[in-house]
Symmetry: C2
Subunit: 217 residues, 2 copies
């Protein structure tokens, strides 16, 4: 008996959706292919989720909430450890990056989801607005903490650098096959802790880079 045989219909649908959405994109995944993969009836999607749009929200929502809860828990720890002083930069990076990249190893279904997360900014799907709202607290508290850790950066420069950081994180989360091919198999994306370590080192140095004057036009 495979694991999916023991789960109920709604779970089977969500997990098949996660796999197929990640592999082929949301728009290119039909409900018929999806329900075939899940081994359930076509109409079950609308019975349990109301519509394909509802299913998409459910797929994202299931992972995003625990991810951000863990991030904020680690951020609380950072700030508690720092007391009245500024939090340590590398701890902040670990709190922001670690839970995201570890999603792909904690569960075997984590990897397809991270591939979907990497695509969340690319898929121009209106149904993702409520999902994005779940990032509000993260988007508010982390920049403020980074500003305290990097007081010499003005706000605009900090925002740009966090933007660059987010790009690296999303690209790493969603594109494990890319680094593998680019390095001809010499880089191992399955080494999650090593990847987190590398990304924190790289990004920490980038965030701490001295600000040079902008070149005149």
């Amino acid at each position: 008996m495979t694991p999916s045989d023991t789960k109920d219909t709604a779970d089977r649908i969500i997990e098949a959706a996660e796999r197929l959405f990640a592999r082929h994109g949301i728009a290119r995944t039909s409900l018929r292919a999806l329900t075939d993969e899940a081994g359930v009836n076509l109409a079950a999607v609308h019975y349990h989720f109301g519509s394909k749009e509802g299913l998409v929200s459910a797929v994202y929502g299931r992972r995003v909430q625990p991810l951000n809860a863990e991030r904020l828990r680690l951020l609380d720890e950072c700030e508690a450890a720092a007391g009245d002083g500024p939090p340590e930069l590398e701890s902040l990076l670990e709190a922001f990056i670690g839970p995201a990249l570890r999603l792909r190893q904690n569960r075997s279904q984590g990897e397809p989801f991270m591939c979907l997360m990497g695509r969340i900014y690319s898929e121009p799907a209106r149904e993702l607005a409520p999902v994005m709202a779940q990032f509000d607290e993260v988007r508010q508290r982390f920049p403020a903490a980074f500003q305290r850790a990097l007081p010499e950066l003005d706000e605009v420069e900090l925002m740009w650098r966090l933007h660059f950081l987010l790009g690296s994180l999303m690209h790493t989360a969603g594109g494990s096959h890319l680094i593998e091919r680019m390095s001809h198999g010499r880089c191992d994306p399955a080494d999650v802790e090593g990847t987190i370590h590398r990304l924190i080192s790289y990004t920490g140095a980038g965030l701490r880079a001295s600000v040079k004057e902008t070149a005149a036009p």
Copy 2:
């Protein structure tokens, strides 16, 4: 008379496709919406491009070739200026990053295309394989040049860091609206030269970061 009225049908189709593919994604853009936007007949797409897939290739191909030619020209300049020594890191970054981000200002149509480029790794479209092949020379020569500029990095570490760099670049190229919203309008993505300068500073520091030992499991 609008500019598009003066162009022939194939150009009008390509430009409408670039806009709509960038705005809504390839799969979600129907040929009917596309030909309405272009002001041409539906069957013109198949007459000029054979199929929707052929149109997608044409849209990418038109921009990718000049982009990579400019990158390689600047790389040649870097290597000529360096003589027998290692090329300068910041010049390499300018050669790789500059032409990509400048695409969005050289032409008014450049911005939607960069949005498409940022999505090239996300859109799991089989028809993009020939487009990806146009990156072969860039993918071969730039890592080798970076390795010469950063001899203290082992190959695996370098590949990871170039992977992170690529993520920042793609995210910046394709997501101008994201940084604008994240910074509440205080960051200006239209300042292309400033953005290039910031990304080069950030990324240069990240690439030069000292390699620390990987944490034991």
